[in-house]
């Protein structure tokens, strides 16, 4: 076999006392797609940042095509033929595709000649790799999938032979993701080496040749993809056996507890974010709203929970209307039995600099059991928080620790514990497992099913299609602010994916 495209020897990196990377050895064969999988905080991004020159390793060596490489900055990485496609695109929104591609590689002070050269080079790249994008289109007019293509073109334009993609499918519809994988396979056939960082097991199985698993800063295993299974990888990631599919019995839905009728919401510019949406959630069922991020789910949740102004329509909670002026009192809604696990855990659901016990009463701090007149009953609050920590297996088990020091999964458990323990009638949950590790996902899913079985009405919004499919009793698909379809829990991914892309859009089905 030829020289490894990338070889890492004994890479270690500490941040203070946090060991982000521990003695990592990794060989990536040229002309392959190599997956790197691991939970949030396992050290994947740190490792790639070292390779791309954002961080320096404390110890260890990097070899590129057999040659020892010292990478101090991303320019060194680019010079070695390494390109990176970031999770959050690094594009200038009001520039054209061409302008973005040459940004930082303009070459000469006068743009005219370099633009002309870049245009022909870009056309060649687009032709060779099947990456068609109009070079004169402005970035903000392009859909997300095409913006990502521009990122890939940028890397290729700089002569990348080795492409690193960091969680590339987070913002894509299933169809767009499938298209991306086709592009990656084609790049591989052209002899490029691709490193794919992800936490989604399905993607690894779908597209990679080899896969390395990271856990707590260490590289725990490397496998040939065809010789491994999803179950084995999950176990390697978490360090124990994981139940990937949620076990649940049949739903026994009762009466409608939450009803939304003809709800329309506009943003500040007057663009319709939620367009004539009607839906109902019955006691004892989970209704899932599927959709690509940014299709109005956030606005829908915020309006139902009284935090955003509606243009028209009604929301009824247990027979009584919810105020939709955007000035509704969240405390009143909580009293009436509406619990809300917000999408934006970091800014809305929690106050990260607070101690854990202070977050455990957020929104319920007016309740008699937590106060003595104007004073907080600190003893009661801490005792209560400690009970929830035990019941929801929140770790570390210290109710006085700052919330920012908990991992994503445990932070989410703090929010869930708070909202579920209120014994609500309706539970509204946004992105319950975003940024949450596999082990905690299992726990959270079980608790949501428990809530349903206790007769709560659960409205679930998630961009993770797997999650929607395994939890929901009914699935609604949201696209461009509208509910474009309703399916049962047995709907196929392809069917839902098509709805998520807007049925009319034939491009998605090509």
């Amino acid at each position: 076999m030829a020289e490894a495209a990338i070889e890492l020897k004994g890479i270690s990196k500490n941040f203070g006392s946090v060991r982000a990377n521990r003695d990592i050895d990794l060989k990536i064969a040229p002309g392959t797609i190599h997956g790197i999988i691991g939970e949030n905080g396992a050290g994947k991004s740190t490792l790639m940042s070292i390779l791309y020159g954002f961080y320096q390793a404390d110890r260890g060596e990097i070899f590129v095509n057999g040659e020892r490489a010292v990478i101090h900055a991303s320019s060194d990485a680019i010079a070695r033929g390494i390109g990176m496609v970031h999770q959050h695109f690094m594009l200038v929104h009001n520039f054209t595709v061409l302008e973005n591609v040459i940004l930082g590689a303009e070459g000469e002070p006068l743009l005219k000649t370099s633009i002309a050269k870049a245009r022909s080079e870009l056309e060649r790249l687009e032709r060779d790799y099947g990456l068609e994008v109009d070079p004169d289109a402005v970035i903000e007019d392009l859909p997300v999938g095409l913006q990502q293509r521009v990122e890939i073109l940028k890397a290729l334009f700089r002569g990348a032979d080795i492409l690193i993609l960091d969680e590339p499918t987070g913002v894509l519809t299933p169809a767009e993701a499938e298209h991306l994988f086709r592009i990656l396979r084609q790049l591989k056939d052209e002899g490029k080496t691709i490193v794919l960082i992800t936490h989604k097991l399905r993607e690894i199985m779908a597209v990679t040749d080899n896969v390395s698993v990271m856990r707590q800063g260490a590289l725990v295993a490397t496998r040939k993809t065809e010789e491994t299974t999803v179950e084995e990888l999950a176990e390697l990631m978490v360090g124990r056996r994981v139940l990937l599919r949620v076990e649940k019995g049949d739903a026994h839905p009762g009466d409608f507890v939450l009803s939304v009728k003809n709800l329309t919401v506009e943003d500040m510019r007057g663009v319709k974010m939620v367009d004539d949406v009607s839906l109902g959630v019955r006691a004892g069922e989970i209704v899932g709203i599927a959709g690509v991020a940014g299709n109005g789910q956030t606005e829908l949740l915020e309006t139902i929970t009284g935090m955003r102004k509606a243009v028209s329509g009604t929301v009824t909670l247990d027979g009584a209307p919810v105020e939709l002026t955007g000035e509704a009192d969240p405390t009143d809604l909580r009293r009436r039995g509406m619990a809300h696990v917000p999408e934006d855990r970091h800014n809305m659901g929690l106050v990260l600099p607070f101690e854990e016990n202070e977050n455990a009463i957020l929104g319920y701090h007016w309740q008699d059991k937590y106060v003595n007149g104007p004073f907080l009953d600190i003893e009661a609050i801490r005792r209560d928080a400690q009970e929830k920590i035990e019941k929801y297996d929140i770790r570390p088990t210290d109710a006085r620790l700052k919330t920012a020091n908990f991992s994503g999964g445990n932070q989410q458990k703090i929010v869930l514990a708070r909202e579920m323990e209120q014994d609500p009638k309706v539970l509204i949950v946004g992105q319950p497992t975003r940024g949450v590790d596999v082990g905690a996902i299992e726990f959270i899913h079980k608790r949501l099913i428990d809530m349903r079985d206790q007769g709560k009405a659960v409205l679930l919004v998630s961009v993770e299609l797997d999650e929607i499919r395994s939890l929901s009793d009914r699935i609604l698909v949201m696209f461009a602010g509208r509910i474009v379809g309703e399916r049962g829990p047995d709907a196929t991914e392809g069917e839902l994916g098509l709805l998520m892309a807007g049925v009319e859009e034939k491009e998605a089905a090509e």
């Binding site: 500490n14 941040f15 203070g16 006392s17 946090v18 060991r19 982000a20 939970e39 905080g41 991004s45 740190t46 940042s49 954002f54 707590q216 978490v238 360090g239 935090m307 009192d329 969240p330 405390t331 009143d332 909580r334 809300h340 917000p342 934006d344 800014n347 809305m348 659901g349 929690l350 106050v351 990260l352 600099p353 607070f354 202070e358 957020l362 929104g363 701090h365 007016w366 106060v371 104007p374 004073f375 907080l376 600190i378 297996d393 929140i394 770790r395 570390p396 210290d398 620790l401 020091n405 908990f406 991992s407 999964g409 445990n410 458990k413 590790d437 082990g439 905690a440 726990f443």
Partner: protein, 379 residues
Amino acid sequence: MSAPYAKLPAWADYGLIPLINLTVAFIVAGLVVLLIGENPLRAAVILVDGAIGRGQAIAYTLYYATSFIFTGLAVAVAFHCSLFNIGGEGQAYVGGLGVALVCLTFDSVLPWWLTFPLAILGAALFGAAWAFIPAYFQAKRGSHIVITTIMFNFIAASLMVYLLVEVLKPAGSQAPQTRTFLEGGQLPKLNWMLEAMGFAVRSAPLNVSFLLALVAAVLVWVLIWRTRLGYEIRMRGYSPKAARYAGVSEVRVIIVTMLISGALAGMMALNPVMGDQNRLQIDFVTGAGFVGIAVALMGRSHPAGIVPAAILFGMLYQGGAELAFEMPGISRDMIVIIQGLVILFAGALEHMFRPSLQALFASFSPQAVGAEAKQGEGA
């Protein structure tokens, strides 16, 4: 991509880092003293001796510190709500009007210990009222509180000059000030306290409002960390979105916080007006409102930090006056420079030495610091 830094033990966080910052501020200040051709060591000795060398000096230091505790607390309370109240100067000035009106009304009929509570009320009410208008505009109209409070400092200054010259000045007097309060409007001095500890004090303005300042510090602690209101203030301060989600009315919490902040700033007036000069004079605040910002920054908005920070600035004020007197090369402006450096290093550059200190601590005891960030994984 966040770079997780190790957590420091509390004593390093609240003790060592301020100490390092302060030391650096004084080293740089020493260089400035060197630059103008004076001996920085001698200057330091004069400054410290002038601030705490004798009973007399200590009494003056604590007198200045009293004002700074009030204004520091005022700024800190607003900080907790993420509001930057730089109107302490004006609120204290108007607070002085409240004190003077109470004293002028009751000084002939009530003993001081009955006038005092009324004067506290007057100071707090007038200070709060002056903070209310910017607070209302911030809460309802989104007018930035930094801009409005600083504007209100100027309005307060003009208003007070007008009132002192046109309304409050006794007929026939040339000085823009009220008449001197009678005994019922004068706070007892605390010099006996220092004398009881063996210090000699000739005459110094330290008075019972110092004790009130300490009580206020304790009450602010209770307010911020032990009451529902304080919880809501901090919630709004850290995350307005979370406060909205939790059903905390932003309008209400902004206005209430600013009223408390203004009341504390107003109470600063008790110290000079009722405790020392026994009359309301022009410009009696002399920058204490602004020093409060530095005190709150340095004390990290915690009463336990504000009190020592206020005493430190009291030392700079008192020792600085001595220094200007002893060393002709050093003017009062030099003291302002030192104060500025303290603010720069303790406030603005607060995090300058933190990363290297954290690395140092981590290398000593890798398990003791910051380990909890990892334990939470994979639950």
